[in-house]
């Protein structure tokens, strides 16, 4: 099945469908997430009361809180609300040829990765955050109505991970199998950190890659057929393969330096919902 924006959206919606219940279960996370606004602890524009202050010349008379002022003598109080600003989440989901691999009866890694990215975007959009694509020409969007456009753009080739400069202060969700030198990830995390952003990486893999159940004379091919490798007995390379993979994963984990950064692993035979929940939780924790 070639993924279309509609099918991706459907799949992501299905993944996100389970979320409300999970969110309800984890109330803390849910409260934070559904609040949708992240207080800046400064006066600003929102509905949340921040403080009263004396009227100063230049304030519009409409901001005077007459009821409070009436309690005091000869003082006029102005009601100030807290400045609240929505978070920005930037999505990036891409990978090399390996990323297109799909085990039997399972979605491809790419599709699952896109599902996760879009499901998270849906959850955030629902609570009023802004979501955009990493390195995309379009600015981040808000509102649930922009989901189809987002899905459409997700399905297209993404900007290169190594080249683009991160947006300042944004959450960045990187989804891939990261079958690339781990240094790339370290580098990206570092750049996001520099821009005061919060990087999160989800490593999507197929269970077959972990188990490596092959035996006998085998010719391995990438999903695109570009890379081929032949072994007289595949069983004999299993150990070396698993060792390499383990090492790679360790190096990927080392990209995390600060507490709110995250590298987590997902297998396509699992449900994406728990992963989504933990991601949401993580995003709300640092408020």
């Amino acid at each position: 099945m070639t993924p279309t924006p509609a099918s991706l959206e459907q799949e992501a919606a299905r993944a996100a469908l389970g979320l409300p219940e999970l969110i309800a279960a984890a109330e803390h996370a849910a409260a934070a997430v559904t609040a949708g606004r992240h207080a800046r602890q400064r006066p600003g524009r929102s509905d949340t009361f921040w403080q009263f202050r004396d009227y100063a010349p230049g304030d519009p008379s409409s901001v005077i809180d007459w009821r409070q002022s009436a309690r005091l003598e000869r003082r006029l109080l102005v009601r100030q609300t807290e400045w609240e600003q929505p978070q920005t989440l930037l999505l990036w989901c891409d990978g090399d040829e390996d990323f297109d691999f799909a085990g039997k009866d399972r979605p491809s890694k790419r599709f699952r990765g896109q599902t996760i990215a879009l499901a998270l975007a849906m959850a955030l959009l629902r609570s009023g955050e802004r979501v955009g694509l990493w390195g995309g020409a379009e600015p981040p969007v808000t509102g649930a109505q922009s989901v189809p456009a987002l899905a459409h753009r997700l399905l297209h080739r993404q900007a290169s991970l190594t080249e683009m400069a991160p947006a300042p202060g944004a959450h960045v969700l990187l989804v891939s199998d990261f079958h690339r030198p781990p240094e790339d990830l370290h580098d990206v995390f570092a750049r996001i950190r520099e821009a005061r952003g919060r990087p999160m990486a989800v490593v999507v893999e197929d269970p077959l890659e972990e188990v490596f159940p092959y035996q006998g004379a085998t010719r391995f091919e990438g999903p695109g057929g570009a890379i081929r490798r032949r072994f007289g007995d595949a069983g004999l390379v299993r150990e070396a393969y698993q060792e390499q993979r383990q090492e790679h994963h360790e190096k990927l984990k080392h990209a995390v330096r600060l507490p709110h950064e995250l590298v987590c692993f997902h297998s396509t035979d699992q449900s994406p919902a728990p992963l989504l929940l933990s991601l949401l939780q993580r995003m709300s924790e640092e408020g």
Binding site: F99, F101, Y214, R219, G232
Partner: protein, 880 residues
């Protein structure tokens, strides 16, 4: 076991080499698509040397190779045919029941001859003649040309001594044969038929049934067969099942049928068996007439009924009772034993009976004399003189008279007087009346007179039915006479009656396969006591069926036990050798495909390999079911068949076709909005190629100068109409269809269209949904023509199949995708368009629901019958 080409077996020597090769060359590596190539590509290929071929694959391949070589070597299993070069005598049964296994018999004969090189003498048992010496090739060709004969084996000409002395005797035996001395078969090689042959015995016609024995040649196993009674038109009138249990070689099949149906049976046959033995022909003698007798009982020798019933019982179905009861049963002949006076109702009934072709036979007696004398009584050949004539009594001078003459032109003209019949007393007819005299006494006074009356016949026997007046009732002539009259009642009275010595010409002859065909000119004539070929002889009244088997002598199947000592059985199975080659080759293919499977799956999918083997095999086992499937409908027709949709005939003119399409779409939309009919979008069809039967309605616009349709297209449109479809022909630019210019004339001249008439006010088209005055379109000019009322009555459903008009309906209906009209509504404005839609919906309703609303035509008379529709009380006024 032998091999046709043993040299191929040398290939088996290559097995060790194959073993070595197979071990050395590993199977092709499996191909795996894998997502972790990033890691694999960095891994070294240090261990890519071959692993050993798995032993399972090795074994499978070796077996396949062995099977292949053995199969190619052509192994044959079975006894080798006995070879001889001495003279051979081949005796072959080709009689009445041989057709059932004819090709097997020919094969057996050929197989027996194949192995011999010496001269061959062929003997056919149907005529017992022997051929001169033939070479085996000639003999085989002769056997090829032989056909089974419809007659019983004729052993009269059989030279038994010659057979017994033959150096080598091969007997291809039939099934049922007469219980003969089989001594000449001592030392013969006998090939018995592979299964029982069947034959029907002699039919016996009893009072209430046809009974026929079914015989089989072997007593082994339970057999179930069906025997059918076939009428003159080839229909099976009745079918009975007969079951033969093990040990039984004969069972009687009984057909109990109403007399009228029983008399229609012309042959009995075993279903599914094609041979002369499986057919029994029934002639006129098997037909029985229903005869009604009005007499005063049949209990004692003093009552006429006693003699009448005994004379007629073998030939006719008898009923006795008062005249009124007899008439109800509609007999072919009514016998009145001394009835003089009739009730008025009986007389009328009898007169009608005679006028309609019945035969009325009356016997004289006291009551006849005492009866009322009616001038020109239609129930008597001639008026009867009061008072009988007594001969040879104590007070008379005359001797009793002898019956002397039989009129040769009368229906009983072929009877021969072989005995002296004395007549002592008789009635006389009035002089001057001239009835046909069939039988007269020596002095010329009539004994039997007759007269044609209407289509029927009135016969008067001038003596009584009891032997007091004469010896006639106890003579042989009496029974013959009654039976002939009964036969006459069953057939047309105008048939010529054959004379006593007439030879009957053959009309139809039976062949060895049990089929009747017209007798060739010069066929043998049937004469008493002469054996002729089985078939039908003579014509209707005296139609005579000659069957191969006349019921004697008893027949028995030839079983191995009956063969004399020294005879040797050669079975059909032993006669030929079985070639195991194809089986082995199939096995090799199966093994190789299993090998392919094993290689692909690495031996993990053994069940799948087994399944593959089954799939490979199944075409050999399963019957060819696909041959019974109907050809699939083309996809266009499938779509049309799954939904109701209208069709239009593509004219080739793009603009016209687009308008038809839009028109029918508009009509479909409107029908969906207004009625329960919800057609899918219309389709264009090419009557030359597309399946038409799936559309209820076809719209066919004909413009001047249009490419004329082909004859085959018209033929298919005729079939469409015949199959219940409604064809709407629209000639938008031609004012007077049928007379106009352009293509329609040409089309109608080649089109087998039903007769047409102008649309009548009571046509179902005008009230099938809306009540309309006319079928208006964009134009109202010209006349709409539909199938005539008379033609409709002929059709099974009374639904018109053809509408021809020049109303430009499609233009009126045409809507674009958004539902806006494509064309202006024409004069009359939107009201006209609305009426066009109504007309279209009416046509569609007729096409789909048929004549459902046809009774609306009578609505006015129905209302009238209900009374004054304005008076609501009218309906209740007559009520209780």
């Amino acid at each position: 076991m032998s091999f046709t080409s043993p040299l191929v077996l040398a290939g088996l020597l290559a097995l060790p080499a194959l073993y070595w090769l197979l071990r050395a060359v590993p199977p092709q590596p499996k191909r795996e698509v894998f997502g972790g190539m990033y890691f694999l590509k960095t891994l070294s290929t240090r261990k890519s040397q071959p692993v050993r071929t798995p032993p399972l694959i090795l074994i499978v391949r070796m077996l396949a190779f062995t099977a292949l070589i053995l199969g190619l070597a052509g192994p044959l299993v079975g006894d080798e045919p006995q070879r001889s070069d001495g003279p051979v005598t081949l005796l072959m049964d080709d009689g009445w029941d041989a057709a059932a296994h004819w090709s097997e018999r020919q094969n057996a004969a050929r197989a027996a001859l194949e192995a011999s090189t010496g001269p061959v003498t062929l003997v056919r048992r149907s005529d017992g003649t022997a051929t001169p010496d033939l070479t085996p090739d000639q003999a085989m060709r002769a056997i090829e040309r032989w056909e089974p004969q419809p007659t019983l084996p004729n052993d009269d000409n059989l030279d038994r001594a010659a057979l017994q002395n033959a150096e080598r005797l091969i007997y291809i035996a039939g099934g049922l044969m007469t219980d003969d001395d089989l001594g000449y078969l001592r030392g013969a090689e006998v090939s018995l038929p592979p299964s029982a042959t069947l034959a029907l015995g002699r039919v016996s016609v009893t009072a209430d049934a046809l009974a026929i024995p079914l015989m089989r040649s072997s007593t082994r196993g339970t057999g179930r067969w069906q025997v059918s009674a076939i009428g003159a038109d080839g229909r099976a009138l009745s079918t009975e099942t007969v079951v033969l249990e093990p040990g039984e070689d004969m069972a009687e099949v009984t057909f109990r049928l109403p007399l009228a149906i029983r008399n229609q049976v012309v042959r009995l046959e075993i279903e599914g068996v094609r041979s002369a033995g499986a057919v029994e022909l029934l002639g006129a003698s098997a037909r029985r007439t229903l005869v009604g007798i009005a007499s005063r009982g049949n209990d004692s020798l003093r009552e006429g009924g006693f003699y009448l019933t005994r004379a007629l019982a073998p030939q006719a179905e008898l009923i006795e009772g008062p005249i009124a009861d007899l008439l109800i049963e509609e007999p072919g002949m009514i016998i009145l034993d001394d009835v003089g006076t009739f009730r008025a109702r009986d007389r009328d009934g009898l007169e009608a009976f005679v006028n309609n072709g019945g035969v009325l036979l009356r016997f004289a007696g006291p009551r006849l004399l005492a009866g009322e004398a009616i001038n020109g009584d239609p129930l008597l050949p001639a008026p009867v003189l009061g008072g009988e004539r007594a001969l040879g009594g104590a007070l008379t001078w005359d001797e009793p008279q002898r019956v002397d003459q039989i009129d040769a032109r009368s229906p009983i003209g072929d009877f021969v007087l072989e005995e002296e019949i004395a007549v002592r007393r008789q009635v006389l007819t009035t002089p001057g009346s001239n009835p046909d005299v069939w039988v007269a006494l020596a002095d010329g006074t009539p004994l039997v007179t007759a007269r044609r009356q209407g289509n029927g016949l009135v016969v008067l026997v001038h003596v009584s039915a009891v032997p007091t007046w004469s010896d006639f009732p106890i003579s042989g002539l009496f029974a013959q006479f009654l039976q002939r009259l009964a036969a006459l009642a069953e057939t047309s009275l105008d048939q010529p009656v054959p004379g006593p010595d007439d030879a009957l010409p053959a009309t139809k002859l039976l062949n060895g396969f049990g089929a009747l065909s017209d007798a060739p000119l010069g066929s043998d004539l049937w004469r008493t006591g002469v054996e002729v070929a089985p078939g039908l002889y003579g014509s209707t009244t005296k139609e005579l069926a000659v069957n191969a088997y006349a019921g004697v002598p008893p027949l028995r199947g030839l079983t191995p036990e009956r063969l004399p000592r020294g005879a040797r059985l050669i079975g059909a199975a032993e006669a030929t050798q079985t070639d195991l080659g194809p089986l082995l080759l199939i096995l090799a293919v199966i093994l190789l495909s299993a090998d392919a499977f094993l290689t692909m799956t690495g031996g993990r999918l053994l069940p799948a390999a087994a399944a593959l083997a089954v799939v490979t095999f199944s075409p050999l086992i399963a019957p060819r079911a696909e041959a019974q499937l109907r050809p699939p409908l083309p996809s266009l027709a499938t779509e049309a068949a799954l939904d109701i949709r209208f069709g239009y005939i593509k004219t080739g003119d793009r603009e016209v076709d687009a308008l038809s399409e839009a028109g029918l779409r508009g009509l479909s939309v409107q029908a969906t909005l207004r009625t329960a009919l919800e057609p899918a979008p219309p389709q264009g069809v090419d009557p030359d190629r597309d399946e038409l039967s799936v559309y209820p309605l076809l719209y066919w616009p004909i413009h001047a100068g249009q490419e004329p349709p082909s004859d085959s297209a018209l033929q298919r449109l005729e079939e469409f109409m015949e199959g219940g479809g409604l064809l709407v022909i629209d000639t938008p630019n031609i004012a007077r269809p049928g007379l106009g210019q352009g293509g329609l004339d040409d089309i109608l001249s080649r089109f087998d269209a039903p007769p047409l008439e102008p649309l009548g006010a009571n046509s179902v088209l005008l009230f099938s949904f809306y009540r309309l005055a006319d079928l208006e379109g964009r134009s109202t000019s010209g006349q709409v023509w539909v199938e005539t009322r008379g033609a409709l009555d002929q059709r099974r459903d009374g639904v018109p199949s053809l509408i021809i008009g020049s109303r430009d309906w499609a233009a009126a209906w045409a809507l674009d995708d958004r539902g806006y009209p494509l064309r202006p509504a024409g004069p009359g404005g939107e009201r006209r368009r609305e009426l066009a839609f109504r007309a279209g919906i009416n046509m569609a309703m007729v096409a789909v629901t048929g004549n459902y609303k046809a009774d609306q035509a009578e609505v006015q008379s129905m209302l009238d019958r209900l009374g004054d529709p304005d008076d609501p009380m009218e309906r209740f006024r007559d009520g209780p």
